[in-house]
């Protein structure tokens, strides 16, 4: 069964069609990618899925339930978490507090409970703290939990953002360029992490990515967007040889000479 189904999703900004009748299906426990040149509408699509934008037409289903029109916080509660292209942590909070905020929708403690420290609140806080420490260890940040997020090194910030999203206990995790600005070894580490998220935690993953090495190495299905329209969809090897895709990236006439291959991305 599909975790996420987009049905003819259209989003317009004034006269610009940022998304035109996009159909997309993400299978349970899949790792899928969306690629496309700059301005193709990839992040717009993510924003539609997370409820930050409301598409003008079409419907999006999470496990069969329509989610268009829901506010982002309700979408998050239903099980979609995301990371951002340019890291957006809560900078002046510690790493562990960032993760605790991610757990927010699953915590029950009330204002009164927080003031009076009722037994329920205290045990819930202790549990969530233990869980947060566990997640911190999962992304290999043990020992840095009390540092302010803004003081963490770049790679650690990326990993913390993933940990925060995981704290949301998502069914579907949207990763927006998770390897942006990383060197080859960091990129490899992130790819391993993404696989583990799926294999060990059973989370379905949809990612936007520019590094072809990552896209081709990790994805089971690739969707290509260009000018807001879906121009191709298929397995990595199919996309690599697809003339339309090559044209979208490199311009008309290029298809004869080039193929998109991992080796072109160094």
């Amino acid at each position: 069964m599909a975790v996420l189904t987009a049905d003819k999703v259209t989003k317009r900004f004034g006269g610009l069609d940022a998304l035109q009748r996009i159909d997309l299906e993400v299978k349970e426990q899949a790792i899928q990618s969306i690629i496309g040149p700059n301005g193709a509408g990839k992040t717009t699509f993510f924003n539609c899925v997370t409820g930050f934008y409301t598409p003008e037409e079409g419907e999006i289903y999470l496990e069969g339930h329509p989610i268009v029109g829901m506010s982002p916080d309700r979408v998050a509660k239903r099980g979609i978490a995301r990371t951002y292209q340019n890291i957006r942590l809560f900078k002046n909070m510690t790493a562990i507090e960032n993760i605790l905020v991610g757990m927010h929708p699953h915590l029950r403690s009330t204002m009164i409970g927080g003031i009076l420290h009722t037994r329920g609140t205290l045990s819930e806080e202790a549990e969530s703290l233990a869980e947060a420490r566990r997640l911190l260890g999962f992304v290999n940040l043990t020992g840095q939990g009390d540092m302010l997020a803004k003081n963490l090194p770049y790679g650690a910030q990326r990993r913390l953002e993933i940990a925060r999203a995981l704290a949301n206990k998502p069914k579907l995790l949207l990763l927006d360029e998770p390897t942006a600005g990383m060197n080859p070894s960091e990129t490899q580490a992130t790819m391993n992490l993404i696989r583990r998220l799926r294999d060990e935690l059973g989370i379905t993953i949809l990612l936007i990515e520019h590094q072809m090495r990552v896209v081709m190495g990790i994805s089971e299905l690739i969707t290509v967007l260009d000018y807001g329209a879906k121009i191709a969809e298929g397995l990595p090897q199919e996309i690599q040889g697809n003339p339309t895709v090559i044209e979208a990236y490199l311009g008309k006439g290029s298809a004869r000479e080039f193929t998109i291959a991992p080796s072109t991305e160094a």
Binding site: A76, A81, E97, L129, R134, G145
Partner: protein, 572 residues
């Protein structure tokens, strides 16, 4: 190091110009002349002279501090240059001021001021007085840097105490414990003079403060090693108990004048703690916060005033209503403005504050709110036979209120709600994407802040037994906001520090009342430049290292090849 030898002279010249500029500014603002007769040490140093020469002390010290590598002779020359430049600027001011009429623009550019600057020496020779005086001041600064390191701090503390006690002569003699007889005679006739300290008094205080500071600093080094955690804990408990007893006895020790200041400061602390939730925790800029104070105060007034005769409840009966109405007002304002961000929110809240004030002032509601006359004879609290009808007894209720409010703020800060507030402050969109309900979270912040202000308002109304629309001005909102900023945004102890500095201190320094806003501006600029995070910055709680951290992460950690992540470069 700089290779250009002229660089130090250029720097000295520049610093001299800045110091001279500040000296001219304080002269023209009127600070020098106004305090020319207020002596710190009777007949020797006046507050005005200190204010005039302080920039020269400061800049000479900073210049030497930045050029400690230079030879003594160069340093002597540098400080002389600073003093000379600043002094010549003052001479110029005197010459310009006495030949042309500057008073249309600078009211304080009076002959009395010029007379002070030249120390009464008539002209041709008098022109030399300011430069000589300034060079002397700069050299005193230089002399200060020659003092060995370990004596420097005790000596500066000694001087500071002399300045503080000398300036505050009148206020200290008002303290009730000092008015007990043998003490009063000692202080009034021995330590203090007609104005400021007597010479002997100054010496005694200097020796005492310097000696004590030196003694404690040498002792501390010796005992630091031996202190165990358990002993630390007991000393902390003793410290807290001592503080508690001191707070409880303050009104009796200090007397009426200070109790009044304490009460006002307390009310501002309460408001600060409330606004700190809205602005500091949740990041929602509220410029009309006084509205909630007004609502609390007016509710208390309408419900209890015997003059108005509408309801005639007691203080305690009216209190829940005052809190409820303030809380509801917070919700009411919160609902429409939640969609606004940043500047827009600030403007709307500003408008709300003005609306509430104008409603209280209006003829339309005159029957219930009293219009310009306000509401008089508001009930004061009583518990059984104990009546809280004086400034000194109300102090205890205010302290109780602060304890409750601070406790609630502190607990909330560490709670799930507190984390959501801070997430909203940091990044609203991401907070929402993490599952935080923005509307609810912001409403909670607004209404909790309003509730605290409502409590302060109700207590404030009871303290004065009256409320007037004229006391609910925009300036109060700004006051509260500034004290939060100076104390440290989001910091609970910062609110206390900010209120003491910005409300308590100006209350004590009644003579400076005229320069209060001047002082606010100066404090704001200095804090923003030197300590942008505030005097007592917000501290994040340490959550990770509370217990052994290895438990709980075994299953996932084991499967991870350790090398995967450890190969990542740590900094980028």
């Amino acid at each position: 190091m700089k290779t250009d030898p002229s660089a130090v002279w250029k720097q000295s010249l520049r610093n001299g110009l800045i110091a001279g500029g500040i000296a001219i500014l304080v002269s023209l603002v009127g600070l020098v002349e106004a305090f020319g007769d207020d002596y710190i040490i009777s007949g020797l140093v006046s507050v005005g002279e200190l204010i005039l020469l302080f920039p020269i002390f400061l800049f000479a010290y900073l210049t030497i501090h930045g050029n400690s590598g230079q030879s003594r002779a160069t340093q002597l020359g540098m400080t002389a240059l600073i003093g000379l430049v600043a002094g010549l600027m003052l001479t110029l001011l005197v010459i310009v001021g006495s030949t042309t009429n500057m008073r249309e623009m600078f009211v304080n550019a009076s002959p009395a001021l010029f007379n002070m600057l030249t120390r009464g020496v008539p002209f041709p020779l008098g022109a030399l007085v300011p430069p000589l005086q300034c060079i002397l001041a700069a050299w005193i600064s230089l002399g200060f840097t020659l003092i060995p390191e370990r004596f420097r701090k005790p000596i500066s503390l000694g001087i500071l105490w002399v300045i503080i006690l000398g300036t505050l002569r009148d206020q200290i003699l008002l303290i009730s414990i000092i008015q007990v007889e043998p003490l009063y005679t000692i202080f009034r006739y021995f330590i203090f003079a007609q104005s400021g300290l007597s010479l002997i008094g100054a010496l005694i205080i200097f020796v005492l403060a310097t000696g004590l500071s030196y003694y404690t600093s040498t002792r501390q080094k010796a005992t630091q090693v031996t202190r165990t955690p358990k002993r630390q804990k007991t000393t902390r408990i003793i410290l807290f108990m001592g503080l508690g007893v001191l707070i409880a006895l303050l009104p009796q020790i200090l007397g009426l004048f200070y109790s009044e200041i304490l009460d006002t400061t307390g009310l501002f602390i309460m408001m600060g703690l409330g606004l700190n939730i809205v602005v500091g925790f949740a990041g929602l800029l509220d410029l009309g916060y006084v509205a909630f104070y007004a609502i609390g105060a007016y509710t208390m007034g309408v419900l209890t005033s015997s003059g108005l005769g509408l309801f005639d409840l007691t203080f305690w009966q009216a209190m829940p209503f005052a809190l409820l109405v303030a809380w509801l007002a917070g919700l009411l304002l919160g609902l429409p403005v939640l969609r606004m961000r940043g500047d827009y929110l600030a403007i709307v809240t500003l408008g709300f504050g003005e609306i509430v004030r104008l409603l209280a002032l209006s003829n339309w509601l005159r029957g219930t709110l009293g219009g310009t006359q306000g509401i008089q004879s508001i009930a004061q609290p009583a518990i059984g036979p104990i009546r809280f009808d004086s400034i000194q007894s109300l102090y205890y209720l205010i302290v109780l209120g602060i304890i409750i409010v601070a406790f609630v703020a502190w607990r909330l800060k560490g709670s799930r709600l507190g984390r959501s507030w801070m997430a909203v402050r940091e990044d609203e969109d991401v907070a929402q994407a993490m599952g935080i309900n923005l509307v609810l979270t912001k409403l909670m912040a607004f209404s909790t802040g309003a509730l605290f202000a409502g409590l302060a308002g109700a207590l404030g109304a009871a303290k004065l037994t009256s409320v007037y629309p004229h006391s609910m001005t925009f300036l109060v909102s700004i006051n509260v906001l500034v004290l939060i900023i100076i104390g440290g945004m989001g910091s609970i102890p910062g609110v206390f520090v900010g209120a003491l500095v910005l409300v308590g201190l100006p209350g004590i320094l009644t003579e400076f009342q005229e320069y209060r806003l001047w002082f606010y501006g100066l404090a704001l600029v200095l804090v923003m430049l030197l300590r942008p995070e505030g005097l007592w910055p917000e501290a994040r709680r340490k959550l990770e290292l509370h217990e052994a951290e290895t438990e709980g992460l075994v299953p996932i950690e084991e499967m991870a090849p350790a090398a995967t992540f450890t190969e990542l470069p740590r900094d980028r």
